[in-house]
């Protein structure tokens, strides 16, 4: 195990059209941690993930993966995008899509190989997708597609797995199943997981670290240390109540400054 953090983000700032999306965001993730990237829609979660992947053009700050820059080591990152917009007629079985995770970047025609099909079978088993491995990806349910996308991202054995809102558009049962699957994979395959979500509650059983985004700034640390009235109030810039009921956490805007009262981002989007 490396002595460096699995992921280290230092003083990251990103601006679009003169507007700050991320301001001086810093956090470290120890290897093997399961971290939720929590924030309202528009709080910069996708921007942060894209920055880590090196897709965000203009940015300042440093992002290190196990102590070295990301660019030459991008294959150590697995990435699961928000949602595939796949044609149901796309002639691509779940199995074919997972295989593309292994060699989709290569030129030339794919040659059949036992080692390859064994690797694909193993990965399909790891995400419990054997039952629908031979169906077209575009015809799978949201939860099944999510499993196949995770297998696609993990088959090259990355050290860090990034997922962009993997729980959005899933029903309650699939949400619980995907979280449990990710927790198990993180433990078994010894990978660091960073996933974004606008609601932290489904992640509470699995998540040991949190990066909470608001106003372009981030608070990070152990979940219990960050999700507190004092910390979140400081982050939002006005009073926030953190209420715990029946094992759920509610983050509620308290007294809002007058200038923000009509700002829909602040009124509606606090998770």
């Amino acid at each position: 195990m490396s002595i460096f953090p699995a992921l280290s983000v230092q003083s990251l700032s990103v601006a679009f059209a003169g507007q700050d999306v991320l301001k001086d965001v810093s956090f470290d993730l120890a290897a093997g941690s399961f971290c939720g990237l929590i924030g309202a829609n528009g709080s910069g979660k996708t921007t942060l993930l894209r920055s880590i992947l090196g897709f965000q053009g203009k940015q300042s700050g440093t992002i290190l993966l196990e102590g070295v820059p990301v660019a030459p080591n991008r294959r150590r990152i697995g990435y699961v995008p928000q949602k595939l917009a796949l044609d149901p007629d796309m002639p691509l079985r779940a199995r074919d899509f997972v295989a593309l995770g292994l060699d989709g970047h290569r030129l030339g025609l794919p040659l059949p190989s036992h080692a390859k099909s064994r690797a694909v079978d193993e990965m399909l088993a790891a995400v419990e997708a054997q039952d629908f491995a031979d169906q077209r990806v575009g015809r799978l349910s949201g939860g099944q597609q999510q499993r196949v996308m995770i297998a696609h991202a993990l088959i090259r054995r990355p050290h860090l797995l990034l997922l962009d809102e993997p729980l959005a558009n899933l029903d309650m049962r699939s949400i619980a199943e995907v979280v449990e699957l990710l927790r198990r994979l993180a433990r078994e395959q010894k990978i660091t997981v960073l996933l974004s979500a606008h609601d932290m509650n489904p992640l509470l059983p699995a998540m040991d670290r949190i990066v909470y985004l608001a106003n372009g700034k981030a608070a990070s640390g152990a979940t219990a240390d960050v999700v507190r009235t004092a910390v979140l109030s400081k982050l939002y810039g006005y009073h926030i109540d953190v209420i715990r009921v029946h094992g759920r956490v509610l983050v509620v805007a308290g007294e809002m400054p007058p200038g923000l009262a009509h700002d829909p981002v602040h009124v509606t989007a606090i998770p």
Binding site: D87, M90, G104, H105, P110, S141
Partner: protein, 285 residues
């Protein structure tokens, strides 16, 4: 046998040329067509073919191989569409429509000159709807070279193109130059429509590009198999169409029916009769 294959079918040089040129066009169109259909680029493919008719009609004026004309104009149109922007679907459709209009305008001009200056009255029908039995044997080497070139590029970019079709961001993440792959896809598409324009004509070439892949996608859930099936459907329709057109000469003595009619009808039938693949019934909820 002699009822099915009217006497002299295989001995006839124009038939052999038609089979080679038509077969090449059908295979390349069907293979690239699978990706064109998946990316929702069918309209762009049709536009490229229509615009290529300007090149085909100009070739009659200049007296060069029509394939060169079709090809040059299709590649130019593809370049124009890429240059003018094709990122958003609506924008892409608008740009495609504009390029299509300009190209067909040139076509009208060149066809007019073909008729008035060169006295080639058959040019309009040949360019728009094809005239396979009139393709000279000398066109075969160039046709084969274009077809093999298209297949080579497609074989090279097969996996990155497939991944780009699934999700461009996933492809980019894997270090794939998505824009370059898109350009190469457009180039092979241009080659395919030029070849098809030679056989079934510029207007009907969409039938070979879209029909066999659409039929294959109904049945096969695997990318490689869908492509092989599409190629087989395109090839079979073309060969059978040529045979029927040859035989039709004996149905209405003295006047054969156009090959293109048979080919596009067979493609259409293949699509309608192709059964749906089995996995639809097992669709997960």
């Amino acid at each position: 046998m002699s009822i099915l294959f009217a006497s002299g079918f295989f001995a006839d040089e124009s038939v052999r040329t038609a089979l080679v040129v038509g077969g090449s066009a059908a295979i390349v169109s069907a293979l690239i067509g699978v990706f064109t259909v998946l990316r929702g680029h069918a309209f762009a493919g049709h536009a490229l073919a229509d615009v290529s008719s300007a090149g085909g009609s100009a070739s009659f004026l200049l007296g060069v191989n029509p394939l060169l004309g079709f090809l040059g104009m299709a590649v130019l149109a593809a370049g124009a569409m890429e240059f003018l922007g094709n990122r958003r679907v609506r924008e892409r459709d608008l740009v495609t429509g504009i390029v299509l209009g300009a190209g067909l305008g040139l076509s009208a001009l060149f066809l007019y000159f073909d008729v008035t200056l060169r006295n080639t009255t058959g040019a309009a029908v040949a360019v728009m709807f094809g005239s396979m039995f009139a393709i000279p044997a000398s066109a075969v080497p160039l046709t084969l070279a274009v077809a093999l070139g298209g297949l080579a590029i497609l074989g090279l970019i097969y996996r990155p193109l497939l991944l780009s079709c699934v999700d461009p961001e996933l492809a980019e993440m894997r270090g794939i130059n998505v824009r370059l792959i898109g350009l190469l896809h457009l180039l092979v598409l241009s080659l395919a429509v030029a070849l098809s324009a030679m056989t079934v004509g510029a207007i009907l070439s969409t039938a070979l590009l879209v029909g066999p892949p659409a039929a294959a996608l109904k049945l096969s859930a695997r990318p490689g198999r869908a492509m092989c099936l599409a190629a087989a459907i395109g090839l079979a329709s073309t060969a059978l169409g040529i045979l029927l057109a040859y035989d039709s000469f004996y149905w209405t003595p003295g006047h054969g029916w156009p090959v293109s009619f048979f080919i596009v009808t067979l493609v259409c039938l293949a699509y309608l009769l192709m059964p749906r693949g089995a996995d639809r019934s097992r669709r997960a909820v």
